[in-house]
Structures are given as C-alpha cells and as structure tokens.
C-alpha cells in the first residue's frame, strides 16, 4: 500500500437552528459521570480520505454526505476561533485496524460515486468543541474515560491556544501497517515436551489445560502421524497454526470442559460424598433427550448452533443464548454490539439457515449509583451505558426486535459484569421437500467464506473467555460489531437458502475460521467420510502482513462459512453480488479425514479429526457443601411499622425493581410487524401508552398465521448466597409462571440455560472457596434436571461462561482484590401459542373486578429484595414444590384459555406488594385487598405477606360474571383476596387495620422516578 501525504477531509456539523443533540448528550453524561458543568459542546463529524480528488468528485462527496437543509460542511476546518467560543477541542478517532463502520459505508458509497475513489481508504472521526470552566486535565479525563476507550480508540486534546484554524485536526488516517511477510513458526519435534507446550501456551495465551497437554504432545510423536507428515512434506513438529487450531478446538468456551468434568462433592453436614461424572451428560443431555421423546420429539437438539423446535404445523423456530462478558468488560459498547450481532449468526448457522425474528438481552452489573473502592477497567455507569448502546445499535440496525431483557445490579458483578444475548429464528419446516433443520456436506463441496474480511480483530477472544480477567488479558480481542454488513449477509443467505443453494452453514464466531472450518472438517459427510482442505492465501484480508495463524483464528465479525455444491456455485456468487456481500471460495471438502491448510501450494497444517475425538482426560473438581445453617446464616431481626406505605414506596424505587422503561424505549420492538405483547404494557400516563413491565412477550414470526411465540427469561442470583439449588428452582418456576401469565399452555415448553459461574477450580491462595462454588454448581445442575422434568422443559440450547471473576484495584493504594460474581443462571422459556388473539396482559382492566391469587405465602424472605433493602441476606430462601405447583398451573392454563382471566400477573422479586402495584398501576387502578385472605402456611406479620418471595404464586383479575366459571376450574387452588378500585391502593392487615393506604399514581411515581430523567430528557 502506498501512503502519501495527500488527503481529503470533509467536516460537517448541524446548523445552529437545529441544535446539537450529540453535544447535549455529552454535556449530560459529563455531569452524570464526573460532575462537570459544561457550558456548551459543539460536535463535528469528519471523514478523511487518504488521497486527493478532483473538484468535481469533491462536489459529489459534499452533495451525497451532507444534508442541505440541516448541515453545513467544508473541506477546510469548520471550527474557527473567531466564529466559535470554545476552550478546548477533543478529536476522537478509531485506533488502527479497529472496525470503523462509518468509514466503511463512506468508502462503499465513494466507490459507487466516482472512479477516483479506487484504492482509497476512508476514516471517520469526531471533533468536540467544548466551552466550560474545566481544566485541560478534566477534558483529557472526559476524552479518555467517556468519549473513547484506549482499547479501540484514540484522541487528541487541543486548548484554544493550541488550535490552529488552518490545520484543524490535520490528517486522521490510522492505517495498519504491518510491513512484514506472513510468517510460519515451526516447533522442532525434539523440543515438543509438556513443559514446552505449557510455556508456549502461556506465552501465546492459548489457555491449554495442563491435562490436555500430554495428549497433544503424544499425537505429534506418533509414528503414523510422523510418517504421514513426511509424506506431505510438512514439518515433523507442529506449526503455530496447528497449535492454534488445537487450542481453539479445546478451549473451555467451545468444549465446555468444566461441565463435562468429574465433580467429587462432600456434604460437610452429613459426610456423604457424591461423584457427579459429567454434569452436561447427566443433568442436561440425558433428561433433555427423554423429555423430547416424551412429547413426541424435538426437531434438532444439542448439536447445532441453536436448538430447533416446532412452530405450528409448517414452521420451525430456532433459539440460543450466550454471554459476551469478557469483551464487554473491556469495551462495553463494542463488546455488547459484537455480542448481539454475533448471537444472530447462530440461528443463521443452524440447519440450512434460520431468519431472525427476535432477540433479547440481560445485563448484570455493579450498581451504577454506587462508588466502589475496588475498581474495574470501566465503572458500572459507563459499562451499563455502553452495553445498553451496543445492544441498541446491534439490534435495531439488524432489523430484529429486541423486546425482552432483565437488568440486574449486584455488588458481585464489580469484578466482571455479565452481558447475555439471545436470538430466535424462524424457518419453513421444509422447502421443496428438503427438511430445513438438517444439513450435510458432500465431498467435493466448496467451502465459502461470506461476509467481512479478516484482520487482527478479536484474536484470542475464545481463549480469553476461558480465563479470569487480569491485567494481562489481551486487548486485541475486543472489536466493534457491524450490523449493517451482517444484515446484508443475512438477507443474502436467506435468499440463497430458499433457492436451495446451501448444503451446510455455520458461523465464524469465537475462533474464526479455526472454529468453523475445524468443525466442518470433522463433520460427517453424506458418505460417512470427512475432511477439508483450505488455501489460506485465498482468505481475504483487510490489510497485508497477517501471519497465517492470525488469518486462521481472527474473529473479525460478520462472517459465515458455507458449503455449496459446485454446480450451484455460480448462482450463489451471483446472489452474493446482488446483495453487495463479499464471498470467497477458500477450499474444498473431501474424504481425507483431516483438516489441511496450504499456502503457496505447500501444506502448513494437517490435523486428523481423530485428535479431537481422543479421550482427553476429564477435568477434575472438588466440591464442598455445607448447608446455610451450618455456614452460620441467620435471619435478620426486623420490626416493620404498622403503616407499610413508605416501605412499599421504597421497594418500588429500588434499582432492581424500578422501571427500566428508558432502556426498552431505545430498542425497536415493532420491526417485522409481529409484536403482540411487547416489553411494556398498560394504559400509560401522559398520553404515552404502556409504562409497566410485562412478564413475557409474544411475537408473531409468520405474518398472516394465528400462531405466536411466547418468550421470557428469569434470573435470581440474589439467592445464590444461601443455596444455588433453591435459586435454580425458583428461577425456573418464575419463568414458567411468566409464560402462563400471558396465556401460554404447558404442552410445548422449551428451555435455554445460560450459566455464568465464578471459577470452580479450587486453589488454596487464588480461589480458596472454589470447592463451595463447585458444590453450588452441581446443586444447580441437579435441581435444573428435577425442575425441567417436572415442568416438561427439554433444554433446546444452553451455554456456560465459567470464569466470572475479576481482580479489581483500589486506585488509592494499588491494592488488588479478587471479586467473584454470584453464580448466575439465566433461564429462558419459550413456547408457541396457538392463537395470539387470546393473549392476556398484566395490566389491570377495570374497577370492580375481583382479585384472585394462587400459591401459599411462607416466611421466605431469605435473599429477598426486602432483606436486601435491610442490608441483610437472611436464611429462609424460597423453596419450590414443582409437582404441587404444576397441578395448579394446569388449572391456570385452563381458566385463561377459557377466557375467564382478564389480567394475569406473576408474583416474583419484591413479593405480593410490589407486583400487585405493578398490576394495578398498569390500569391506573386502585386495589382493596385483605392480607388475612392470603393463604399462608401459618400466621405471619403483614410485611412477611407483602414482601415474601415464596414461589408458585400469581395474581388474576376476574370479572364478577366469570366468578363461577373461574372458581369451578381453579377449585380451592385460587382464592379471592380483594377487588380493583378506582385509585387507592389499600391493604388491610391481618389485624384488621389498614396496613397500606396510598394513591396508585404516587406508587407509580416511586416506581418510575429513579430512571425517569434518563427517559425524559429535555431537548435543546
């Protein structure tokens, strides 16, 4: 690449009459993050082209990139001292080699506009002119900690004196210049010892497990392997690309070695020892297969990129969920957008390809309102804002609704915050007689890489996810997702699939080509063989100088690997061109049983598929359980006032209870026209409908059909501190109640389990409570099996992220402290619903209607929101009786489908008091209930009944004229506790006195106020 000094720089900004919303947002955030009161911020968008062009081309650029009504622009610096009052200028730009989406779209259009753009590169950046009484250090802090992240971006700060009107920011062209020939590193076979491999793994961040190393070493020393390599003229010892391939294939992220390990758990209370051999097989795989068979089969389970279940008679839906924690903790926006866009490639790479119709998110962070002594790379507020924005752009720009998500704050996420992403896709069951959930490679098929080019981005993301976050975590693994490129690719692949052009498809996510090609090389072909040969020189790169292994493991996003039969190749490429998607044939599938990579016609890697089938030893873990009582947990001593009104107000405003409307409003939940129930329901206030959260969402992925899909997720990590087993039962029970609350039945439930666990490998210094964490994990898995069997939920898909720990630093002293997250299980339940016109929502409908309840309220406030408010954990965690609950839930389904339930609301975190307020608030109605009518196991105080989190409980609104039918179906499972009224929330206590007497609108204020300023921003 020839780099010259010539360049073109187009700057643009809005005219004063239009205002500067981006500048205003920056001022808001400067105040929230740092307490800086800025007077004004003016923003300028910049594109820099690394060559000069003719006047005519420059005119074209201005015509096409600048809005003539609202913007002004210039090829000279726009910011002039004489014209604008400012004290400082920040220029923020991408780092070399980081995905620059605006730069890429600008280049795409320039190339279409003028032949002069041939060979050009385009870079985007932003200028902020700041006025305000802050120091240069303050401005540098703003730039470094708010506007940019040194992992992906850079900045320069100019004072007014330093700013040169004629030069401006100068030339911003952050090229990657590697200036070297691709290298291949060969390890002499005689050097290949276990010690060497361990050292090599540490140095290159391969994260090889010590137990795996002898097997890998032995493979290369085998006589038959050596003979074969000689015949191929391949080095005797492994090449770097081979070891990278093996490490990627064996990483915990890909292989789930922890879940397949052997856990020896001792119960210290009883002395009993239990050996759990392969948690995955025992508690996930086998029960799921049985459950699937029990309901007549599930189309595709446990092997593909997503699980597949039936959706009505003619369609299938695919679902999967995962986390994107490590990158999001380094660069929140980039991590989250890469996560959501990445998960959309999983259904796309399932079967012959599913079209996305819905996504979901889950954010678990430290409390953004708190100041923590031990700090991570990003503070919680910045991290949360970043991940919210990342999912916003990733979801919205993909044209996929993002209607559901849990947001949860807990001090335990200081070390590592969690970002969950979930994707759902839809497909015809068959096209031209071809079942869409199956896929088979035929020897001779072409291997084609579609989508973006590869660069240094994301190298070693997978192995980094298999480690704790430390100072040494490689920064190169963070990247910026590109929903625009992926949307084009998705449109293309769905059209290709409908034409029957695809034989096999899988995504290039973690591990890049090493993962997708490694996986397809081992995939059993139509004739029982397997094998793939790839020419690494054909892989298109963003810039020259990448080593072979870098191309192979690069996680540059928005790529899929597709197998296409040779006769359909031309048509495939024609469609690719129509959709402006880059596709490249990089190899052929064969019958050789190995993964072979060549460069310049010579082999540089040859690994037999059988290496990965070798009996790698199971990882071993020790567990140690003792009951919460033995661990010394006790109930706090609390005495509630007679009037619980103030307590209820405070509960409704707590960070984990209060309204998250501001986040849902940022996410499109209407696109594709399938929304039936979105994230928010209710009459609303001030003329904006829908302001209360729904327990579940309902979408119609196939327009014109009555069938819908019900979706929900639950997570209650607050119970982990007492007992992860009961946590798991409560979580799954909550998710089941959520779906029946909107009208789903129990015939075809599907589950997705997403585990995020702190490290379970005991180490006396580094992880002294590792045995307890391991025991908690086994309890969770055992309980999940029991709950799934009771509720009939096969696990369609699931993922685990096993290292949610971090070393945080006290900036005052430099002292570092290890912080482990609570073991977290996000459980998803989805199910088709036959007729969406019969759905039920959770917002109360009419004064005078009756309020019924199911379930028994016990003194189960251990780990509850109420105890958390009282700065306690407690002991009495909710315990779940699935079998008893299931009997009642069946009646709930019958009553709801009979049309006798006007409104249905799940009682979950915060208890009866909170969820009755959310239900009533949805209709801006009051309630009049009597706590002595609430079924309890024994006598309890008012605050216990109002705030206990006993599972198996729900609320229903029933019209007086449906009373008899409702009661006939429900029998004694449901009981009447009061009525909806005009506007006052009145609760009579067990002693007959009023325990709560509050206006509903006031309670709604308390629920909405904490985040209202984030929603209701006054414009310029």
């Amino acid at each position: 690449m020839q780099i010259t000094d010539e360049f073109l720089r187009l700057e643009k900004t809005t005219i004063p009459e239009v205002g500067d919303p981006l500048g205003q947002q920056l001022m808001d955030r400067a105040k929230t993050y740092f307490g800086y009161e800025l007077d004004d911020v003016k923003t300028y968008s910049v594109i820099t082209v690394d060559k000069t062009m003719s006047e005519m081309a420059m005119g074209l650029i201005q015509d096409n990139f600048v809005n003539p009504v609202t913007e002004i622009s210039s090829f000279e610096p726009l910011l002039k001292k004489a014209e604008t009052e400012f004290d400082y200028v920040i220029h923020a730009h991408w780092g070399a080699g980081v995905r620059d989406n605006p730069g890429a779209t600008a280049l795409e259009d320039l190339l279409d506009m003028t032949p002069e753009a041939q060979g050009a590169s385009v870079f985007s950046s932003k200028i902020y002119a700041i006025k305000g009484g802050v120091s240069k250090e303050d401005v540098e802090k703003l730039a470094a900690e708010m506007l940019t992240n040194d992992i992906v971006e850079g900045f320069e700060v100019y004072t007014r004196e330093e700013w040169d009107d004629n030069v401006g920011i100068g030339r911003n062209t952050p090229f990657v210049t590697l200036n070297k020939e691709p290298q291949l590193d060969v390890i002499p076979l005689e050097d290949l010892t276990d010690e060497f491999l361990q050292k090599y793994s540490d140095e290159r961040n391969l994260a090889l497990h010590p137990q795996d190393i002898p097997i890998i070493r032995a493979y290369f020393h085998r006589d038959d392997v050596r003979a074969e390599r000689r015949e191929l003229s391949l080095s005797e010892g492994p090449t770097d690309i081979e070891l990278e391939q093996i490490a990627q294939g064996r990483s915990d992220h890909c292989e789930h070695n922890t879940f397949k390990g052997i856990f020896t758990v001792i119960d210290k209370d009883t002395g009993e020892i239990v050996i759990h051999d392969n948690l995955f097989k025992k508690y996930i795989e086998l029960p799921t297969i049985e459950l699937a068979e029990a309901r007549g089969g599930v189309p595709s389970l446990l092997w593909d990129n997503a699980g597949v279940d039936f959706f009505g008679p003619d369609h299938l839906y695919a679902i999967t969920g995962e986390t994107h924690n490590s990158p999001s903790n380094m660069e929140a926006y980039g991590g989250a957008i890469t996560g959501i866009v990445g998960i959309y490639r999983d259904p796309m790479g399932t079967g012959l390809g599913f079209d996305m119709f819905m996504g979901a998110f889950g954010f678990c962070t430290a409390d953004p309102e708190k100041i923590y002594q031990y700090q991570a790379k990003l503070n919680a507020r910045r991290l949360l804002d970043g991940v919210i924005d990342g999912v916003k752009d990733g979801g919205n720009k993909s044209g996929i609704p993002t209607p559901f998500g849990n947001i949860l704050f807990n001090d335990g996420y200081q070390g590592k915050a969690l970002v969950f992403v979930t994707a759902l896709g839809i497909s015809e069951r068959e096209i031209d007689g071809v079942p869409q959930e199956l896929k088979t490679i035929h020897p001779g098929d072409y291997a084609i890489m579609c989508g973006g080019r590869v660069g240094k981005d994301g190298i070693h993301g997978v192995t980094a996810a298999s480690e704790e976050r430390t100072e040494g975590t490689p920064k190169g693994h963070v990247q910026i997702g590109d929903p625009y490129t992926q949307k084009k690719m998705q449109d293309f692949l769905i059209e290709a699939k409908k034409e029957g052009l695809i034989r096999f498809i899988t995504d290039n996510g973690g591990g890049g080509l090493s993962s997708s090609c490694g996986e397809t090389a081992r995939q059993i072909n139509s004739n029982g063989t397997s094998g793939l040969e790839v020419d690494i020189d054909k892989v298109p790169t963003k810039y020259d100088g990448l080593d072979h292994w870098e191309k192979w493991v690069s996680e540059s996003q928005e790529r899929m690997t597709v197998a296409v039969e040779p006769s359909k190749f031309d048509r495939f490429m024609e469609l690719s061109k129509k959709h402006a998607v880059e596709s490249t044939m990089i190899g052929n599938y064969n019958e050789n049983g190995a993964m072979k990579i060549t460069s310049g016609g010579k082999p540089i890697a040859y690994i037999r598929g059988e290496l990965f089938k070798e009996a790698f030893p199971q990882w071993k873990f020790e567990g140690e359980w003792s009951s919460p009582e033995m661990r010394g947990l006790t109930e706090p001593v609390l005495k509630a006032p007679e009037d619980l009104g103030a307590l209820l107000h405070k509960m409704l405003g707590r960070p984990n209870i209060c309204s998250k409307e501001y986040i849902h409003r940022l996410y499109d939940h209407e696109v594709q026209g399938g929304k039936v129930i979105g994230p928010l329901v209710g009459t609303g206030e001030n003329g904006v409908p829908n302001d209360m959260p729904s327990d579940a969402v309902v979408f119609q992925p196939v327009l014109g059909k009555k069938t819908g899909l019900v979706f929900t997720q639950a997570l209650i990590p607050q119970y982990y501190g007492i007992d992860a087993g009961h946590m798991t039962a409560a979580t799954i029970d909550e998710a089941v109640r959520n779906v029946i609350a909107v009208g789903a039945d129990l015939k075809q439930l599907g589950g997705v389990d997403n585990f995020c666990w702190p490290s379970v490998q005991y180490h006396p210094e580094n992880n002294p409570d590792g045995k307890f964490k391991a025991a908690q994990l086994t309890r969770t898995c055992e309980t999940m099996k029991g709950a799934c069997e009771a509720y009939g939920i096969p696990l369609l898909s699931g993922k685990d992220s096993m290292y949610v720990d971090g070393m945080n630093t006290d900036p005052e002293t430099g002292l570092q402290k290890r912080i482990s997250a609570p073991g977290t299980l996000q459980f998803t339940v989805s199910t088709p619903i036959e007729d969406v016109s019969k759905v039920v929502t959770s917002d109360a409908k009419e004064a005078g209607n009756l309020i019924y309840m199911i379930g028994t309220t016990k003194d189960e406030r251990g780990g509850s929101e109420y105890f958390e408010m009282a700065e306690s954990i407690g002991l009495n965690v909710p315990k779940t009786d699935y079998v008893a609950n299931m009997k009642v839930y069946r009646k709930v389904v019958e009553a709801t489908q009979g049309g006798y339930v006007k409104t249905s609301k799940n009682i979950k975190r915060g208890g009866l008091g909170v969820h009755l307020a959310i239900m009533a608030g949805g209709g801006n109605l009051g309630v009049d209930i009597d706590l002595s009518d609430v079924r309890t196991d024994k006598e309890h105080a008012n605050d216990v009944i109002m705030f206990s989190e006993s599972t198996g409980r729900m609320l229903f609104e029933v019209a007086p004229h449906h009373k008899a039918q409702f009661e006939r179906i429900m029998g004694d499972s449901a009981y009447h506790i009061g009525n909806f009224t005009q506007q006052d929330y009145q609760v009579t206590g067990v002693n007959g006195k009023l325990a709560v007497d509050e206006g509903i609108m006031g309670l709604k204020r308390s629920f909405k106020k904490p985040n209202e300023d984030k929603c209701y921003v006054r414009g310029p």
């Binding site: 205003q24 990139f65 594709q672 979105g678 003329g687 409908p689």
Partner: protein, 270 residues
C-alpha cells in the same frame, strides 16, 4: 378494473420490507419485493408499477445521517425514472427511513412541483436518542394526500432516532397554507395538538408534524409506521380494547388501522 402493482424495495440495511409487503398485499395490491440493486440495474422496471414504497430501516447503517446515502444513491442510479414515475402519476409512500431519504432527495414536499430540491428534513430527535413508542396522529382533512382519505385519527408506532421535522419558517408556512402537513402528533385522549409537549410529540418536530405530502398528494412521507399496525393485535392496548368491546357486547376487529393507508393507495387507481 386494474389491480395496482406495488414495488417495495429492500437491501442495504432496510428492514421493514417484509411486513410492508404483507400489509400492501392485505390491502389488495399485487406486490413485488426487490433488492435496490435490481432496481438500480434496471430502473425502467419502475414503469411496470403504480406504487413505490421506500420503507423503514437503517440504510447504509444511517452512518452519515438517516437516509443520507440512500437518497444520493437512488437519485444517481434511478433518479430519472423516479421523476418520470412521479410525473406519470405514480404513488410513492416513504416511511421512516424512506421518509428521511425522500425529503433528502427532495421528492417531498416538492413545493411548486420542484422534486429535485430538498426543503425540509427529519433530523435528530430532541430526546437525543432512538425511541420506540406509539403515538396518536391527527390527519388534516384538507390535505390533498391520497393515502389518508377518509381518516381522522390513527395510532401508530414511531421508532427512530432522527424524526424531528425541521424547516425554515417560510417553508413551514407554505406547507401549512397548502395543507401538506398530513399528520400531526396529538394527545392520546383529548386529541388536542401536542404543541411540542415531550413524548406526545416524540421527537420535537416543528408544528408537531409527523407526515407530509407533495402538492398532488401522491408523494407521502411519514415517520410513523403504518405497516406495523396491520393487525389489531399490534395495538399497544389490544387486550384492554378487546375487553372494553366485549363488555358492551362487541367484537374486536381483526384488522389493524394502518392498513387503511395502503388501501387508499390501492383504491386510488380504481
């Protein structure tokens, strides 16, 4: 009687194409869904259609302003045929991203019949961010717009980051005088004008304007999404309305009100 043919374009990040095509079909038109590159390769294909829909999405990622690249590319590749299509009496509905593009192209409001000079813009929301919510819209009964004939009020969702209607005072006055401001944001219950009140008017649009048309009424640009209200179940208070109707012995209609806009489009050609 001729059945109208409608072209819905897609590709390059547009994403409302499927439900738009579905709604148009429900409204009784034949519909073709084509990639923009197919149209650009053969702009004369426009001659086979009576209606064109530039729909919602994030064309080219909206990286350089919403609809900015779309507008330039469309005019460069198919501008002449588009102008001919308009001149020959074709209807163009421009929804959300399509509306942002159409105003940047200048085909709406096209004051004085000038379809080449942009005079208004839909720019960044006052709330400084993307926002998804349902709004209540008042239709100007004196508007020449053929898409809104016989309509008075309609609830629809908005989902955009750049939907604030902006123009200079003279242009605004001309638009008002000629009744080209087809739709305005109003209060949900009282149906009074929003008068800029935050989130009744969701983005800070001048004069609460949500949709505009050209002087012939055949070119329509609107930020709300009629195609996302093709079925009654899309309504944000579907269960509540159904309950209220049932209480007085009435049945819930199955169709969404957004279809009316596409039905008017089909009806126009009859």
């Amino acid at each position: 009687m001729v059945t109208a043919r409608t072209l819905v374009v897609t590709g390059f990040g547009l994403n409302c194409d499927k439900e738009t095509a579905y709604a148009v079909e429900q409204a009784g038109s034949k519909v073709d869904l084509k990639h923009l590159n197919e149209l650009f390769a053969n702009p004369k294909m426009l001659r086979e259609y009576q209606n064109l829909i530039n729909g919602g999405g994030f064309s080219w990622g909206d990286d350089h302003g919403a609809g900015q690249i779309y507008a330039g590319r469309f005019i460069r590749k198919a501008g002449d045929e588009l102008y001919k299509f308009i001149e020959d009496g074709g209807l163009v509905a421009n929804i959300c991203n399509g509306c942002q593009s159409a105003t940047t192209m200048g085909i709406v409001p096209a004051l004085g019949g000038d379809y080449k000079t942009p005079s208004v813009s839909f720019t960044a929301n006052d709330c400084r961010n993307f926002r998804d919510q349902w709004v209540m819209l008042e239709v100007d009964p004196e508007s020449p717009c053929v898409f809104t004939k016989g309509m008075d009020y309609i609830p629809l969702p908005v989902r955009h980051a750049e939907g604030k209607f902006y123009t200079d005072q003279d242009t605004l006055k001309e638009i008002q005088d000629k009744h080209l401001a087809v739709m305005r944001y109003v209060h949900w219950n009282t149906k009074e004008r929003a008068n800029g009140e935050q989130f009744i008017n969701p983005n800070g649009s001048l004069d609460d304007i949500a949709g505009i048309c050209d002087e012939t009424g055949r070119i329509f640009g609107l930020m709300p999404h009629p195609e996302a209200f093709h079925s009654a179940v899309n309504h944000p208070n579907y269960t509540r309305i159904k309950d209220q109707l049932e209480n007085v012995g009435m049945e819930m209609p199955t169709e969404g009100m957004g279809l009316k806009i596409f039905k008017n489009m089909v009806e126009y050609h009859k």
